[in-house]
Symmetry: C2
DNA sequence: TAGATTGTTAATCGATTAACAATC
DNA sequence: TAGATTGTTAATCGATTAACAATC
């Protein structure tokens, strides 16, 4: 019987996949057809065994003694992440951060298209930001069902995050990419992915502290 | 002999600390003086044993049978993260994302103050964004040494990231919070913290795919 | 054949979870 | 005394690293 590769697995590996994908696309554009895990490892400054294990979870296979087909790796990573089909998303909260994300062209390369933005600020409503129209927040439920959108990027002020979140749930949004610092309460049928800048800052802070104390000990 | 708590440790725990800190500050403002790990756990929807272990790495201690002093926990978390003293930072690249980060008031509560921004865009230079002055990029080396700044937030376009990074290293910047998708090459005396949006998107994508396939199996 | 590199299994390491004695 | 909760040690789980046979 075929052994199934672990298709559920491994948060850390999943987080590393976009990095491989980006490099592989560059290789592909440069005309390279075959690549070894050692080559990718060198390029990205990651241990080679790590690369091999990460690629494994996508179900990609290579040829012993040769390497992987670049095209095949790209295909397997994209399929594994669901980035071969574009997913439409709404952006909720067209402030500074929201506008920054609307301007980020990279999303479309990662299977994500922001089709509309929503805000309560009258100065923004009716405008287009990076070709994305901004609608009043109360139109969201209606448009979500009409446009079959089930993914929302939440970039509103923390204070109204839970409030807006409940509107999203009512609009049958199933995935929320939460850029606010507010932990959202949602029913189990809705997924929240918390994007937490302060977590990154905490990590950096500790590393800097360590670096400084090490130096002082010299 | 005293046993030293593990002060180096545990990336995942470190990333969770800001969340505890935020809640504890709220409790403090509400006049609460004592809190148990179980209470924090309930509030934040985290397993109680997890809370206890996370707090342990900061060196905080409580009273058996009673709980922790809120003030003491805040103190220990802040000290552990180095957030009791404010660190000055430069923001490099005052585009959409850069402006969003300048506007994020939360940084100051996390020991971080952006004292100046840098860009090559003449339209931005000389302006103030959220009270932060924008200087030409070529002034960075000079100002960094004069203002004793060793931390930079990098929000330039990916294409010039490595280039700008090398200028930062020359300016004796020791920590770089990298918001570009470009993996930076730096000497070992410099710390880079990679803030990778596509990693978060990858995670969310996989979780949504799983949710959808589970539902289809019903 | 010799060298390279995957596929796969085993060993190590680190984080999470569980259990329980100590004590307020 | 009884209940609550920390401090601490042990058990489990998962991710990383190592080793090596298979094979192009």
């Amino acid at each position: 019987m075929d052994k199934q590769p672990n298709r559920t697995g491994k948060r850390p590996s999943i987080r590393r996949l976009p990095m491989y994908l980006k490099t592989l696309r560059q290789f592909h554009n440069a005309g390279r057809e075959i690549v070894s895990s050692a080559h990718l490892a060198r390029e990205l400054n990651v241990p080679q065994i790590n690369v091999k294990k990460d690629l494994e979870i996508t179900g990609a296979t290579g040829k012993t003694g040769v390497g992987y087909m670049v095209k095949s790796l790209i295909y397997h990573i994209e399929s594994f992440l669901g980035w071969n089909n574009t997913t439409d998303a709404f952006l909720v909260g067209a402030g500074n951060l929201g506008q920054a994300l609307m301007g980020y062209q990279g999303f479309q390369q990662h299977g994500l298209r922001i089709t509309a933005a929503f805000d309560t600020d009258i100065a923004l409503i009716g405008k287009q930001i990076d070709k994305i129209p901004v609608f009043p927040l109360n139109k969201l439920t209606n448009l979500a069902s009409r446009m079959h959108v089930h993914l929302a990027i939440l970039t509103v002020p923390a204070l109204c995050a839970q409030d807006v979140c409940e509107q999203l749930v009512k609009a049958d949004i199933r995935g929320i990419w939460n850029f606010t610092s507010e932990p959202l309460k949602v029913p189990p049928t809705v997924i929240v992915h918390q994007e937490d800048l302060t977590a990154g800052l905490a990590e950096l802070s500790v590393r800097i502290k360590q670096l400084l104390t090490e130096e002082n000990q010299l």
